[in-house]
Amino acid sequence: MKEMINFLILPIVIPFLTGILLIFFAKYVPIQRGIAGISALLNIIVSAMLVNKVHHEGIQTLNVSSWQAPFGITLVSDMLSALLVLTTSIIVFACVIYSFKSIKPEQERYYFYSAMNFLALGVIGAFTTGDIFNLFVFFEVLLMSSYVLLVHGGTKIQLRESLKYILVNVISSALFVITVAYLYSVVGTLNMAHISVRLSELGQSGIITVIAVLFLIVFGLKGAIFPLFFWLPGSYYAPPAPVMALFGALLTKVGVYSIIRTYTLFFLQDTGYTHQLLGILAIITIIVGVIGAIAYSDVKMIIIYNIIVAVGVILFGVAVMEPESLTGSVFYLIHDMIVKAALFLLVGIMISIAGTSNLRKISGLIKRYPGLGWTFFIAALVLAGIPPFSGFVGKVLIVQGGFIGEHFWGAGIVLISSLLVLFSIMKIFINGFWGTPQSYKGEEMVPVRKLLAAPVILVSISVLYGAGSEFVYPYISQAAETLANPSIYIDAVLKE
């Protein structure tokens, strides 16, 4: 079947066309909701088929416009990217159906779902592309949509934080272009597989290490590693819950994915320097994130700092570069995307009930909203990695890899961090859900049951992901195998 080689572009094309289509139906909210929901569901099915295809037939590649591999833009779906595309589609679906009930119709009329679809397009494109400059372009697509979503609603805090967010990202985009220019002047190619071949031919040299560190800065700004996370708590605090969930679950993870890709495919010559640097930064990121998560008594801030912790944990696994830790990182990456989205949506419900995100002013929610309470409780256990939930498997593998690679300090800090993460999230549960029930102004207006549908879906997937890890493991280990042996990726792209 000849047309099937184009299959991997479908998850990019569907949100793209949906986004355009929705612009025409901007004033008809019910039609918009229908189209956005159906297309998001369709994208899940297509991505699941893509995962299945990659599992059975190996890495899928598509040379756009039939330009042969190193010369044109190549799209590559290896297992890691296919799994991340599937996870992204699931999260986008959950956020879309959550938005039906939580975003005001006046706002929905102003291209809200279009922006969401373009964001999905950018994220999925960034996961799929095999061309370093094309990665930049997809980054810009997702950033542009994120600017729109961040400022959507136009409250003072949103405007203020958007300005800072855009400034940070404009600078990081300029750095990205500069880094690509340096890389191009050294290797003379933009195809990621080809870059990897050329870099290994060149061997170790100072300029490559410089480029590696520059890439770490560029992607670290997106992925919020220490010391480049400073912009994140402010910006993620501003938008409404579904946008916050999209940002928290997807945007930082695109940065993390890019670091994983470049540090397992390109920069393998001087790992003593580059990967050690990554490892040290990852550990400091975990520590800073944990401190933030414990220090704040604001539900949004606690979850936001937990994003930073997770970024550190995942990147520590990558820095160790043992097969176990890479498997763990991939496992944990997917786990974290799903559970963070669920937590942001749950916290969004809490805030819309209580009218505040200050934990000191919320209490006793579980009496009136037992469904919300128990879903939150399970999500908290999943996040902290209590066995048999999914965070546990990922962390075990990362720590195991850490011990094999003799990074005892790092592995120890990862272990301690999960205890403190549990503490920080239980703080929300104990203060917000236990205690004397209060009545809040306007809480009857909140359609809690309908809002709860999306986080319940995500938490169930997350629980299944952990309980069925036996079933998921072959997929994850296939993804990690490609990361551990870049030659699989290179051969698939540069096949004759």
């Binding site: 400059f133 600017y147 400022v151 300005l163 600078i171 220019a181 340096y182 002047s185």
Partner: protein
């Protein structure tokens, strides 16, 4: 020629950094514009500044220019144009809403929004 370009790019980055460190929003936006100009010139220089004919069309020339950096710049220019336009509109809206273009007064946290 590359040396001159390096100086030009350096001066652009320098001015961009200076402008972006100022308090006025408009200056910051001009700064981001200069920063992206510097980055674009850098791509051009990194591809190698050499004279040659158009690639693909002629087959008998002794040297060809590299088309890739030009394609990259074109893409990057379009993107930075779009972002700058959005940034300007946002700055204007923020000025109307917040009543100041001084970035110092846009500090703030949960407490004062």
């Amino acid at each position: 020629m590359e040396i001159i370009m390096a100086f030009v790019i350096g001066i652009l980055f320098m001015s961009a950094t200076y402008l972006m460190l100022s308090k006025s929003l408009l200056r910051i936006i001009v700064g981001t514009g200069l920063l992206s100009h510097g980055a674009h010139l850098l791509i051009l220089t990194m591809g190698g500044l050499k004279r040659g004919t158009v690639p693909l069309l002629g087959e008998n020339a002794s040297s060809y220019t590299d088309p890739i950096p030009q394609a990259l710049i074109l893409t990057a220019i379009v993107i930075s144009f779009g972002v700058t336009a959005f940034f300007l509109v946002l700055a204007y809206r923020a000025y109307q809403e917040i009543g100041t273009d001084n970035i110092e007064r846009m500090r703030g946290n949960e407490g004062n929004d």
